[in-house]
Amino acid sequence: MHEMGIANSVLDAVRAERRRFPGGHVHKVGVRIGELAGVDPDAMSFCFEALVRGTDLEPLALEIEYSPRRYQCRTCGQSYAASRDDSACPACGSLDSQFSGGDELELAYLEVEDGARVAGT
């Protein structure tokens, strides 16, 4: 299980980013996880909560935006999300498509309490 290391990387990023908001508290961090990122959202949430507990980051929530594999059909141009075991275009059935996303492991956003000053921006 490597979600512990990944959750730790998220918290490192939160610690680094929160310096930009002196006096503010970061309440939530948003992370985008693609189906092909190889990261299990439940394990990630479990590790995140365990790592946050008892630290100065509390209370800090994690919001995971989970995204399926996405393709654009080269035959009819349709953009679509593939189901787990079928990546054919749902509109025309073609298998000739361009991969367009679903392997992300990204920090999307932070939610900071009102009134915090944004330093250096």
């Binding site: 490597h2 992370v31 075991d85 939610e111």
Partner: protein
């Protein structure tokens, strides 16, 4: 409540080190491959047969990752090529910093081919870029043919699938055509070779894939 957009990769520190390794590999004209599979699929055997087939003047080296023991490094060192064990002590994958550290006392000038054997695991290693030119996933016929569907990340990110232990096909209910079809559902352009490390069937195809990649890496280095 104010929402601040970040839009950056979670593993940006690993990716930074991996990018640095990749630049060094290109500079020294090294082809680096990252071999990934579940435990017991035959990565070490494949590397043993590969090293055995090389001329002694070949400038190949191996980094092999395991949670515990130096067993794989001992097996591979019999080939006479430089081999180093990375013992992770519990971590289920290799990361770029482990590779950087392991390479500290090797002269990159003396290496043309760096083969990295990752920790046996189909999940975690897929998230960590090691600076390799390509990932290679090994699947043996004693496993399920639905592995590509269960672990899409690694099959999607690997350039080549090595279907290993094909000498056992008569004895196991493994449908090799279904396994290949499943791999291509996840990764349409996946290259596939069928290999037996025991009978050496298919070794020639694997070695010619390797040669082809080495040709490409030399071309990329001379172009840069």
């Amino acid at each position: 409540m104010e929402r601040v957009s970040l839009e950056r990769k979670v593993l940006s520190e690993n990716d930074r080190i991996a990018a640095d390794l990749r630049a060094r590999f290109t500079e020294h004209d090294i082809l680096c491959l990252n071999l990934i599979s579940s435990p017991g699929s035959g990565k070490t055997s494949l590397l043993e047969r590969t090293l055995d087939s090389f001329d002694r003047r070949e400038r190949a080296a191996v980094l092999t990752g395991d949670i515990q023991t130096e067993n794989d490094a001992k097996r591979l060192a019999r080939s006479g090529f430089p081999v180093k064990q990375i013992t992770t002590g519990g971590t289920c994958h290799l990361d770029a910093r482990m590779i950087e550290r392991a390479l500290l006392d090797w002269r990159l000038e003396d290496i043309d081919l760096l083969l990295i054997e990752n920790v046996g695991n189909l999940v975690c290693p897929s998230s960590y870029d090691l600076g390799e030119a390509a990932k290679v996933v090994v699947l043996s016929v004693t496993e399920g043919e639905d592995k590509p569907l269960k672990y899409p990340s690694i099959f999607f990110k690997s350039e080549l699938l090595v279907l290993n232990k094909i000498d056992l096909l008569p004895y196991v209910p493994f449908d090799i055509a279904v396994a290949e079809e499943n791999a291509r559902r996840v990764h349409r352009d996946m290259e596939i070779v069928r290999v037996s490390c025991q009978t050496r069937e298919g070794m020639a195809e694997w070695l010619s894939w390797l040669d082809c990649k080495r040709g490409n890496s030399r071309a990329a280095a001379s172009a840069s």
